[in-house]
């Protein structure tokens, strides 16, 4: 089960073709969130969906070589710390916690930078948590026995 590679060539070819466009769409949603519907939460889920598709089609161990579990767990922490770190930086720049006005000389630009960084943190956290959820559900009952 764990190393079973999908026998259908249709599935593997289609998923190979779709993998890059899904990630690009995720990045578009991530950075276009200011102007249209979208943002960190949705983008994270879309990027995670690409990786989940990959490990569903090509087997779990291939998916693990693509995104090693430990790196995934570190990235989970990096996302949250990026969000919290933006707050700390704005304290160091004589602002209040999560006050983006001080991040740049122009408050409006500062807000833009802050929002993009924060959304990036949210996106990284959501994507890695979803991949981690999938991996732990899929490998349940096979690691221990």
């Amino acid at each position: 089960m764990r190393d079973k590679i999908s026998s259908s060539p249709v599935l593997s070819v289609v998923s190979k073709i779709l993998f890059a466009p899904i990630i690009i769409f995720g990045l578009y949603v991530q950075f276009h969130g200011d102007y249209g519907p979208g943002g960190g939460f949705q983008a994270g889920v879309i990027v995670a969906a690409a990786f989940i598709l990959y490990s569903m089609i090509f087997g779990l161990s291939k998916g693990e070589t693509l995104v090693p579990i430990m790196i995934n767990r570190y990235l989970m922490c990096v996302g949250v710390l990026l969000y919290a770190g933006v707050g700390i930086v704005s304290i160091l720049l004589d602002g209040m916690y999560l006050d983006y006005n001080v991040l740049s000389s122009d408050p409006s630009t500062g807000q833009h930078i802050g929002i993009i960084l924060v959304e990036l943190g949210v996106g990284i956290t959501v994507a890695t948590v979803m991949i981690a959820l999938y991996h732990s559900f899929a490998s349940f009952g096979e690691v221990n026995e």
Binding site: I52, R73, S108, M130
Partner: protein
């Protein structure tokens, strides 16, 4: 008028789906029906002008959540057709709660009333500032990351913690009580 008709249609579909989720015993069918349920919900959100929410519901609710539930259902045994438990008290509870909710909803402002209290406070400022000061067209992103930054930080931490919890629950060996439990059972049988 059109809006109300579409809404009514979608909500009646939701009710039908809920009824069938309640009736089905096969776990895979329940999971598939839940996916349909969340997709219908995202249609309702589009109808209510909440595009961001609809996007999230379509991606998260009917995408990832259905995948996770399928993964779980594949590892679980087929659902058995068991007798419903607590049937009588739960009917009383359901009827009384729906009566209370209907009374409350009758007192709410009409759907889509622009002068309802929720539209008069704080939000006009958000809309105005977002246009004149931030130059960010999508107000939802703006409120999410800037005005309600603390909220979103908290939510992110909740997601992170839930992920940690699932990893801890599913990949640890210490929680496996099976051997112990079986021994106890055998002792009792003797």
């Amino acid at each position: 008028m059109n809006f109300l008709l579409i809404n009514f249609f979608l909500i009646s579909l939701l009710l039908i789906t809920t009824f069938f989720i309640f009736k089905t015993t096969s776990l895979i069918s329940v999971v598939a029906l839940t996916g349909a349920f969340t997709l219908l919900c995202s249609a309702i959100y589009v109808n209510l002008d909440a595009v961001d929410v609809a996007f999230t519901e379509a991606a998260v609710g009917s995408g990832i959540s259905t995948i996770l539930m399928v993964m779980a259902a594949a590892k679980l045994p087929e659902g058995k057709k068991n007798k419903l438990i607590n049937l009588f008290p739960s009917i009383i509870l359901a009827v009384s709660i729906s009566l209370i909710l209907i009374i409350i909803i009758a007192n709410l402002p009409l759907l889509g009333d622009p002068n309802a209290p929720i539209h008069l406070h704080v939000v006009p400022e958000y809309l105005k500032e977002s246009k004149d000061f931030f130059h960010i067209p999508n107000v939802v992103t703006n409120i999410l990351a800037s005005y309600r930054g603390f909220d979103t930080l908290g939510e992110t931490i909740v997601i992170f913690t839930a992920g940690l919890g699932v990893i801890a629950l599913l990949t640890s060996n210490t929680l496996n009580r099976k051997t112990n439990f079986k021994k106890n059972n055998k002792k009792n049988e003797r």
